[in-house]
C-alpha cells in the first residue's frame, strides 16, 4: 500500500479509537504514565501492521494490540513481577459465597467503582472494560482475549461477582462501621 494511502486509512480507522486504547491500557497498567506509553506504542504498531487489520473490526484489532503490548510491557517492567503473575495466572476465589441476603451494594459512584475495579485481577478487569465500557459482543471479546465464547460468559460471571464483592457492605463491615457509617473507635 502506498504510504499516503496507508496514512489516510490509519487516520480513518485507528485514530478514532485512541480513547479506547488508552482506557484499556490504563485499566491494565494502573499507572497513568505507563498507560500512555502502552497506548502510544500500540498505536504505532497498529500503523506498521495496518495491512493486517483488513477484514477485522479496527477497534477490536487495535485493542488486541494494546492488550498484548500491555502484558509484554508489564512483564518487561517486572514491576511487582510476582503480584502480576499471580494476578494473571491464578484467579482469586470469589469471596462471594456468603449468605446472599446480606449482599447489599453500596451506593455506586465513579470513585467506588474505580477502586473496586482496581482490586480485581487483570483477567477480570479487562473483560469488564471490554464488555461494559466498550460494549463489545462476546465474539469480539473472545477474539481479543483469545478465549472461546463460552469462556467469555463464565469469565464475565466471575468478574461481575468479584466486582460486586468489592462493592458490598459486607457482614464484617458491620463491625467496623456503625449505622451512621462512622468508624468505631479502636480504643478499648
Amino acid at each position: 500500500m502506498p504510504r499516503d494511502k496507508q496514512f489516510e486509512r490509519y487516520k480513518a480507522t485507528v485514530l478514532p479509537h485512541l480513547d479506547a486504547a488508552h482506557n484499556l491500557a490504563r485499566w491494565l497498567a494502573h499507572d497513568a504514565h505507563d498507560a500512555e506509553d502502552i497506548a502510544q506504542e500500540a498505536a504505532l504498531r497498529a500503523y506498521r501492521f495496518i495491512d493486517d487489520c483488513r477484514g477485522s473490526d479496527p477497534r477490536a484489532w487495535l485493542l488486541s494490540i494494546v492488550r498484548n503490548t500491555a502484558y509484554a510491557f508489564l512483564k518487561k517492567r517486572k514491576r511487582n513481577a510476582d503480584a502480576l503473575a499471580e494476578m494473571i495466572l491464578s484467579p482469586l476465589e470469589a469471596p462471594d459465597e456468603r449468605n446472599p441476603e446480606t449482599l447489599v451494594m453500596r451506593k455506586l459512584d465513579a470513585a467506588a467503582i474505580r477502586s473496586g475495579l482496581d482490586e480485581i485481577p487483570a483477567e477480570y478487569r479487562e473483560i469488564l472494560v471490554l464488555r461494559e465500557m466498550e460494549g463489545m459482543a462476546y465474539k469480539e471479546i473472545s477474539e481479543i482475549v483469545d478465549i472461546p465464547i463460552g469462556t467469555v460468559m463464565s469469565r464475565l460471571a466471575r468478574a461481575r461477582k468479584l466486582l460486586r464483592a468489592q462493592l458490598i457492605d459486607v457482614a464484617s463491615g458491620a463491625s467496623a462501621y456503625d449505622a451512621s457509617g462512622k468508624e468505631h473507635s479502636r480504643e478499648l
Binding site: D4, L18, N23, I113, M133, Y138, R160, R164
Partner: protein
C-alpha cells in the same frame, strides 16, 4: 432450569447473547426466583456504575498529536526514510557479512552460536509435538494465520501457503526462541510435521545450511531481514525441498 444454571446464563441474558429459547427459560426462571432477580439487578447496577462518567479513562488530548508526530506521513519524508532505511540495511548487512567472515576466520574453534540456536529449535519442535500445543491458530489460509500474529509479535512474519504442494500449511503458533517471541509456522508432509521458525535478523545468508540433531533434520537460512529455521523428522532431502519452496515463494 435451576439457580446453578443461572450462574453464568444470567450474564448471557443481560448481555443479549443467548438464543431465543434459552433466553425465554432464563426469563421465566428470574420471574419466579427472587435471589436470581436480585443478582440480575445487582449486575445491571454494576453495569451502570461502570458507565458512569469518570470511570472511562480517556486519552489525554495531546496523545493523537504525539502519535502522529512519530508517523512518517508526508510523501517526501517517506521517500527519504525508505531510502535511508534501505541504505542503512544494506550497510548493516555488509558489515555483518564482513564481521562474520572475520569471526569465522578468527574463531574457528569457538562454539558456533548457530549450534545453540539449532538445539533450541529442535527442543521447541519436540516440545510442540509432545505438549499437544502444535498450533494456536489452525488454518491453511494465509490471511488467517498472518493477521493472527499481529500484535503478538513486533514484526510481521512472511507466511507461505504452499497450497497444492506436498507441504500444506497447518497453522501457526507463538513460540519463544533466541530470547524473544517468534513465529512458528506448522506445515504437514504426509505423516510428518514441520516447524518453521521465523524471526527478524539482520544477517543475510540465503544459502541453506543443513544439520541434524538427535534424529531431527534442520535447514537454516536468512533472507529479507528474516532468519528461518525449518526442522522435522522427515528426510534431509525432503526438508531441503520444503525449504526451497518456502524461499522461492518468498521471492
Amino acid at each position: 432450569m435451576n439457580c446453578k444454571d443461572m450462574e453464568s446464563l444470567i450474564h448471557g441474558y443481560m448481555d443479549g447473547e443467548l438464543d431465543p429459547l434459552t433466553n425465554q427459560s432464563v426469563e421465566r426462571h428470574i420471574e419466579g426466583c427472587t435471589s436470581c432477580a436480585r443478582d440480575l439487578a445487582n449486575f445491571r447496577e454494576l453495569r451502570s456504575g461502570l458507565r458512569l462518567p469518570g470511570v472511562y479513562l480517556h486519552a489525554p488530548a495531546e496523545m493523537e498529536r504525539r502519535v502522529l508526530s512519530q508517523i512518517p506521513h508526508s510523501a517526501v519524508s517517506n521517500a527519504n526514510r525508505a531510502l535511508n532505511w534501505r541504505s542503512l540495511l544494506a550497510f548493516a548487512s555488509a558489515c555483518v557479512v564482513l564481521l562474520s567472515v572475520w569471526v569465522v576466520g578468527s574463531r574457528q574453534h569457538n562454539p558456533n552460536p548457530d549450534d545453540a540456536a539449532a538445539t533450541e529449535v529442535v527442543a521447541s519442535h519436540v516440545r510442540s509435538l509432545m505438549a499437544d500445543h502444535l498450533v494456536d491458530v489452525r488454518s491453511s489460509d494465509k490471511h488467517t494465520v498472518k493477521p493472527w500474529f499481529a500484535g503478538k509479535l513486533d514484526y510481521s512474519p512472511p507466511v507461505q501457503l504452499l497450497a497444492g504442494t506436498e507441504f500444506p500449511l497447518a497453522g501457526g503458533r507463538l513460540d519463544y526462541l533466541d530470547g524473544q517471541p517468534v513465529a512458528a509456522l506448522v506445515y504437514r508432509h504426509k505423516k510428518h510435521t514441520i516447524n518453521l521458525f521465523v524471526w527478524p535478523q539482520m544477517s543475510a545468508n540465503p544459502r541453506f545450511e543443513t544439520s541434524a540433531i538427535r534424529g531431527y533434520n534442520l535447514v537454516h537460512w536468512s533472507d529479507h531481514g528474516m532468519t528461518h529455521w525449518a526442522t522435522s523428522d522427515m528426510t534431509a532431502r525432503d526438508l531441503l525441498d520444503f525449504a526451497h519452496l518456502i524461499r522461492s515463494a518468498g521471492g
